[in-house]
Each structure stands twice: as C-alpha cells, then as structure tokens.
Symmetry: C2
C-alpha cells in the first residue's frame, strides 16, 4: 500500500482541505494581523499509542495549536499539517487520524491548506496554524494590581496522566484527550478589550507564572485560599485553560462574560512588585 | 544537558529569530498575497546522518521550502521550525544545525518567528515558510503552444545519491547538499510577467510533467533532441530547479533575463493537446 497517497487522498475527501495541489497555498485578503504558531505532537513525547486512539491523536494535535492562538485572542483559520506515519499504520488508523483532525477543524472552522506526509519510525504531527486577530493579546502587558485569573479547573490532566502511568483507564471525555476550548474561544473574543495578558496553561500554573513574571518583570502572586490546596493543580500541564490578567474593576464584567459562555473563571492571585520563582514540574525535558 | 533549552538558546543567539516568546507570533502589515508552504526533512527519509553534516541538514531543510515558494514567484520572509532532536545529539551538532539554518536564512532574508523543539528518536525538521507575493504563479495556467523550460542542468542529484548509495563521496558543493537558488529567485521575480506556470523539480522531470499534464489537461511533450539522452536527468528528484511554461514570443526575453543572472535556461518541449504519461521514478514511497 502507498501509505502517503492513501493518507492524502483520504484527507482530500474529508472536505476540510483547500487549495492543496501547488507547491504552496496562496492566501489573499488577509486581515491586518496574522497570528502564527507551530506545535509538534509526537509519539513517545506527547502521547503513547496505547493510551490514545488515532482519532484522539488527530484531534488533540490540532487542539494544542488552537489553544495557543485562542490564548492570543485570535481566531484559528488555516492549518498546515506535517505528518509522519509509521510503516505499520493501517488504513483504518489513517482514517481515524483524519476523522480526529476533521472534528477539530469543523469545530473551529479551520481549513487544511497544505502540508507534507512521509513514512517514518513513529507517528508524529507538526501543525502550523494561521489565525486572524484584530488586536493580539500578549504575555507582556500585566500591570501592578492586576488580578490573575484562569478559566476552568486545573489538575485533571495531571490526574489522567498519573492514572495512565499506573496502568489505569481514563475516560475519553477527559480534558487529557479532548480539550474543551469552544467556550474559551468565545469568551476570549468578547473579553479581549479588558484583558491585559493571555497565555494557555501548557506546562502547569507554576511554570507559566514564572514565565509571566520574567516577561513582565513583576511578581505573579498566587494567593487564593479557596483554591484546592493540592499542589498537583499548580503543576498540571496540558490544561488548555487560559491564564489571564485584568484590572480589578473589570472583574464583574469578566465573570458575566464567563457565565454567558458557561465557563468557569477563577481568581487566583495578584500581580505585584517583585519576582516569582515557583518550583514547576519539568514535563518531557 | 537540557537539549531543548540549549537548542532554543543557541537559536535565539543566532540573531535570525524574531518575536519568539509568546504562544504564537503576530505578523502585521502583510502584503496582499501570502504564500505558505510546509515541508518535512527527516532522517531516514530525506537524509542519512552519515551522508550529511548537521550544518548541511539545517541548510537543506530550509532550501527545500525556499525552493517551493520561489517556484510560485514569492519572496520568502518568515519560517517556523518544528525540530525533533535525537537524544544523543551533541552541543556541537546543534550549533552546526543552527549554523546551516542561519546560512539559509541570511542568504534569503528569512526570519525564524517561532516553532517547537522536542527530543525524540531521530533528527527531523518541519519547516513552515511564509512568503510574500505580488502575483502568485501556479501549476495551472499553461496554454497550448507554450514552451516548456527548466533552469539549470538536471541529473546531478540522482548522480550524487547513486554515488552515496554505493559508498562513494560527493562534494559538499553538489546541489544535493547545497541547492543553488539565489539566481533562480532573482530570475523568477523579474520573469514573473511572462511566465504561465512554475513549479520546482522535486520528484524528477517526468513526474512533474505528468503532474502539470493532469493539472492543465494538456500534454507536456519533452522533445529537445539536444538534451543529453540519458534518462537519469529526467528521473532525478531534489533538483531544486524551476520547471516553467511561457509563450514562444517571450523566449528571447527569458534567455536575456537568465543570462543577466547567470542562470542556465533550457527549452525541453512544448505544451500540446493531449495527455502525458511518462514513467517516473518513485522516490521514498
């Protein structure tokens, strides 16, 4: 079987592609700002085949990138896929992989505009995503006194990974397999004008607060006593939740917008003078 | 050693990066047309480590993509790098890899605006390239009676691969290691207005003529009796030469422009009614 050809033909039949055929694709009438990201999603690094179905792999590979652009206040539009398929992949597995990619694309209105497919050792996806944006949100922009908030609840990805590593089973509905980003995307668009900083929580809250602290030259003090006191939630990576800063006067507006989109929003601390040095967990270093 | 961190820090010191730090990069003031490509360059598929130095790998990974956008009449601008580094890579090898990437970036004025680095089984690069373009050149657009031309000479990549597979040595100046694309890039820009079709010769002239035939629903008849009669030249892939169509009346202008940039240009046939079915060589299927 010609694996590359089968994959490409199945992808083209999926009706999520656009303009594949030339050496590259031409995008015209682009908006003022384009946000561009690239993330790898690789067997042995980000997932094990025995933990993930091919559909879950395809879906999550896209979501990792979609999460990045949403955190910058952008709307995902176009994807380029670099796919390395293992020699022993079956047609059913390739169809499942594309089914997962398609589900993510349809959910967020993304078109696959190009890419490259090869046969190699292990399954690996390189996704480049182009997103449109009126006013991008950056990691730098926090002000002294800002509230630090995050969407959703933290810790379940850590819990899922812990369970899988011990040989247990995790529900397919878990955020570990299926990041929930639709409500986040709506919220980020509508709340854009009151947000000072945005990033997604990929490596754990502690790690991200350290990054924000360094980038903003301010301390990101986590001090919410209501927060479940287990450290796991602060270390848990791959959370696909947004970490945000905004002025205290906009707290109510933020809560109202979150409620509108049935999104949890939690204040976890304040931006202060100083520097933060939390002890993060190092994931796949 | 933290391989990912060392690579990223060395890359940032190379002075070819721009805007790395947020989840994604924001591009503002883009031109009317953006050409986007993604190509993988992977150990065991596109190269063997014993044949290539890390510097040659970095350089060629970029050139594969630069060749694609040049063939569409576009000027390369921004690159996103997805890099999988093997566990046993040394700091010297990483520096060499970046040196090669940097050389290609400086040669064509490309900025590295983002990406992702992981440690995996084998060395693999996924390069996404964004290029600017006033009037893109496509594979479709050939007219009956058009001349078929290509830049440079064909066959040396096949020859190099053949030599390497037999245990021989190939000069580092060979196109196999160092595609020569600067003159091509200038020529393509200046000749844009007289070109009907453009693509780069990645899988051999026969394979590309079949593709153009299918896309244009016309025959691409190769009939230059002056051409060296060995079939290898027609099968040789990774040539990084441009395959072009233009009206016979513009032949002289094309030759003059080629001469100005010291570029070889060869007429190899004509576009006719019908269909072409050459027997191509299947490279890494």
């Amino acid at each position: 079987m010609d694996i590359e050809r089968y994959f490409l033909e199945t992808l083209q039949k999926s009706a999520i592609t656009q303009g594949i055929g030339d050496d590259g694709v031409v995008l015209a009438h682009l908006p003022k700002n384009l946000v561009v990201v690239l993330d790898l999603f690789s067997e042995g690094v980000h997932f094990k085949r025995k933990w993930f179905s091919c559909e879950q792999i395809g879906y999550k590979a896209l979501m990792v990138n979609i999460s990045d652009v949403i955190s910058m206040g952008a709307v995902p539009k176009y994807a380029l896929l670099g796919v390395t398929l293992p020699k022993n992949i079956t047609p059913a597995e390739m169809r499942a992989l594309i089914k997962g990619i398609k589900r993510a694309c349809l959910e967020f209105g993304v078109r696959v505009i190009g890419g490259d497919t090869i046969v190699g050792q292990t399954l690996s996806l390189s996704v480049s995503l182009l997103a449109c944006c009126a006013k991008p949100l950056y990691r730098v922009g926090a002000r002294k006194g800002d509230l630090i908030m995050h969407t959703g609840t933290l810790g379940s990805s850590y819990q899922a990974l812990h369970t899988l590593l011990r040989g247990g089973k995790v529900s397919g509905h878990s955020k570990f397999y299926a990041p929930q980003l639709k409500a986040c995307a709506h919220f980020m668009q509508e709340a854009r004008s009151i947000l000072h900083v945005g990033m997604d929580i990929s490596d754990g809250l502690f790690a991200e607060c350290n990054r924000l602290s360094k980038a903003n030259r301010l301390a990101f003090k986590i001090n919410n006593p209501l927060y479940p006191p287990h450290k796991r939630a602060f270390l848990s990576g791959e959370e696909y939740e947004m970490l945000l800063c905004l002025a205290p006067k906009h707290k109510l507006k933020a809560y109202r917008l979150a409620q509108k989109h049935r999104l949890k929003l939690r204040i976890i601390g304040r931006v202060q003078q100083g520097q933060s040095h939390y002890r993060p967990k190092i994931w796949h270093a």
